[in-house]
């Protein structure tokens, strides 16, 4: 560990300028904070957290739609626990549950499918959020529901894909990135090849990192070496799980059930082709179609800087709400809610020392 840090210091010294590295995976953000790794880095090497936390990038209009659904007497909303406290325009699912709304926490979409089979008189809507990591399991549950003829199961789909979001960030003039720490779990599914365009088009190096502290340090090492060498390749540090072309079976499931669409990223806006919509073949399992819920216009606190934080152009310390009115117990923006959110990580592990 010592030598990894020493090598990073040495490489940073030879570079002789500031570098901004962005991690686009909520778990990396959390590991970096939980292990205290950020403080070991030289000042000129900065880790920025990108839009890698699935909860944080979920638009408030989506939460509003879920809130509307859980108020209907014939609907049960099934969700991962992380979404429970995310504020929508006026409410959140945990507030709705306390007020009598029907919200159930599940640990996988297949649990939601089981729930639907057990409660035939209710319509079970699973909240499908997340990247390539969770998309295959949701695709499977939809495929399975179709095969088994489960008519009271549907998904409110807001799945997103990571490479398009990275592309959008790089096109954004305000965003300065010298290298990407690419997500580990997403890449297990997608394979390393999906990031090739980043090197080819933008000359930005990428390293796919694992989830131990030394994985991340080693990946930073590899990124700095690429920058020094003037290379912009996609390298795999997390080689014990990630391959060039990923998990073909999972990819087939995604393609079978989903098709690309334009998705709204909270605080960033619409990124074309960055979302996954349920194909018309499976529209009976698409909550927007099957139940007829609509996405309205969201109202969020104008002072919330989650959007800038997700793009890596601000840190939570730049936000006036951070730590004052916005805390993990009373979150205003989504980055304070999720255990993988940048604001929650700053607040829990670091922010108040710096403040």
């Amino acid at each position: 560990m010592k030598t990894l840090v020493q090598t990073i210091e040495e490489l940073a010294g030879r570079l002789g300028r500031d570098v901004e590295l962005m991690e686009v995976c909520g778990t990396h953000t959390m590991v970096a904070f939980r292990t205290g790794l950020r403080q070991l880095l030289p000042e000129s090497v900065r880790l920025r957290s990108g839009p890698g936390c699935p909860v944080c990038v979920t638009d408030a209009s989506y939460i509003d739609a879920a809130v509307e659904l859980c108020r209907r007497p014939d609907v049960v909303v099934a969700t991962f626990g992380d979404l429970l406290r995310v504020p929508g325009s006026e409410s959140s699912l945990d507030r709705e549950r306390a007020a009598g709304g029907s919200v159930r926490i599940v640990y996988s979409p297949s649990d939601a499918l089981v729930l639907a089979k057990e409660c035939p008189s209710k319509r079970v809507v699973f909240l499908g959020v997340g990247f390539e990591t969770t998309a295959p399991t949701v695709a499977w549950s939809i495929w399975r529901a179709a095969r088994d003829g489960v008519r009271n199961f549907s998904v409110l789909c807001a799945h997103k894909t990571m490479p398009r979001a990275m592309d959008a960030l790089l096109r954004d003039q305000q965003v300065k990135i010298d290298g990407f720490l690419c997500p580990g779990h997403v890449s297990v599914i997608t394979g390393a090849a999906v990031y090739r365009f980043i090197g080819e088009r933008y000359k930005i190096p990428c390293v796919i990192a694992g989830f131990e502290a030394w994985d991340i340090l080693k990946s930073i090492n590899m990124l700095l070496t690429q920058i020094l060498d003037g290379r912009a390749a996609v390298e795999i540090e997390y080689s014990r799980s990630v391959t060039e072309h990923g998990n073909a079976a999972a990819q087939r499931l995604i393609v079978e059930v989903f098709e690309p669409n334009d998705a709204i990223w909270r605080g960033i806006g619409t990124i074309s082709g960055s979302g996954l919509a349920i194909r018309s073949k499976y529209s009976n399992f698409d909550a927007t179609h099957a139940i007829g819920v609509k996405f309205g216009e969201a109202h969020v606190n104008p002072l919330c800087r989650c959007g800038d934080i997700l793009r890596g152009i601000s840190t939570p310390l730049d936000c006036r709400l951070f730590g004052c009115t916005c805390t993990p117990a009373h979150p205003i923006g989504p980055c304070m809610v999720s255990s993988e959110g940048t604001c929650a990580a700053y607040y829990k592990y670091e922010g108040r020392v710096a403040a």
Partner: protein, 336 residues
């Protein structure tokens, strides 16, 4: 209060619980005995100190690997007394039973209560029974209250940790939380981990018999080690520095925590305590603890400094540092 309704996290033992207890209950009932808000109230009768406490048990499911709601209902209350340096003597026991609860289950739970009480030498001396309609509670809820006699010369309290103290834990963390989670429906992982649920008084007695002056003691329940150290740092106005490499967490618990996305330091325990004593006394305390089965893996996990005041920090395995914050409290509902 920022919320206009009770949220699950209000019962999670974290910052929302603190807001509710301090902002509503302690505010409305304020008196000198209540004010320290420790695990037990300390009552002085004829110049002798007694500890008095109460706790309710709603764990789901009511049988879990390594224990059941009955054993928990004795241990939780006995441990709250023990943390005040009190030998537990008497417990009250109240049941809220759901219509339809199998009598066989109730009999097993009652036997478990009897056995656990016998382990510590406490008697059940009063009680109450209520039955509610089917669907109004989840099998059964239990409330116990306990009285014990304080045997330490000094009063233990979370405000009494001092700079120069060593922080000692009696074994590895997170087993109760993982055992209960893994036995819930809907979670598809299997582990061999069993709850650490145990009455701590016999261990505490060994420690007190050394004659070493203990400054503060806390059992690690909801919110785990994180809640305990952040609370004590806050109450004592001192800085607690823990060493990650010294904090015992077994591999299986760590794996389950990774899977659930939960920090093992915030996982619930029901048979673990931390105690604070002068560093020079730590060896004697450790030796006494190791003689007892509940303290075989006791070790020093950190120290108390005068700074940063009111804050607990973790020196991480890779040489970094981070805050150990009070968990918000919604991670694992109905764990005890």
């Amino acid at each position: 209060m920022t919320y206009d309704r009770i949220m699950l996290a209000h019962g999670g033992g974290g910052s929302l619980t603190r807001e509710l207890v301090e902002g509503l209950f302690a505010h409305e009932f304020d008196n000198p005995v209540l004010r320290p808000l420790d695990d037990s109230a300390v009552l002085v009768i004829n110049r002798r100190g007694y500890a008095f406490t109460t706790d309710s048990y709603v764990v789901s499911p009511y049988f879990f690997p390594g224990g059941d709601i009955g054993r928990l209902a004795v241990c939780g209350t006995v441990n709250d007394l023990a943390m005040q340096g009190a030998q537990p003597y008497w417990l009250s026991l109240s049941f809220i039973l759901e219509e339809g609860l199998p009598i066989g289950d109730l009999e097993k739970i009652v036997a478990s209560i009897r056995n656990t009480a016998a382990e510590v030498g406490v008697q059940i001396v009063t009680g109450d029974t209520k039955v509610v309609e089917r669907g109004r509670c989840d099998g059964l809820y239990i409330n116990t209250a306990g009285i014990g006699q304080i045997v330490t010369p000094n009063w233990l309290g979370s405000a009494n940790a001092r700079p120069g103290d060593a922080v000692i834990v009696n074994g590895s963390l997170g087993e109760h939380g993982v055992a209960v989670m893994s036995s819930r429906s809907g979670i598809s992982f299997q582990t061999s981990i069993v709850s650490d649920c145990a009455p701590l008084w016999p261990l505490v007695k060994e420690v007190l018999n050394t004659g070493v002056e203990i400054h503060a003691m806390r059992d690690l329940t909801r919110g785990g080690l994180a809640a305990a150290v952040s609370d004590i740092a806050h109450a004592s106005g001192i800085g607690i520095i823990l060493k990650e490499t010294a904090v015992p967490v077994n591999r299986e618990v760590r794996g389950a925590c990774d899977l659930l996305g939960i920090d093992p330091l915030t996982m619930a325990n029901e048979g673990k305590l931390i105690l604070f004593c002068r560093t020079v006394d730590a060896e004697r305390v450790l030796a006494a603890m190791k003689r007892h089965s509940l303290g075989k893996n006791a070790c020093v996990i950190g120290e108390v400094k005068d700074k940063p005041k009111g804050m607990a920090l973790l020196r991480t395995a890779i040489g970094g540092e981070r805050i150990i914050d009070m968990p918000t409290g919604e991670d694992l509902p109905r764990i005890c």
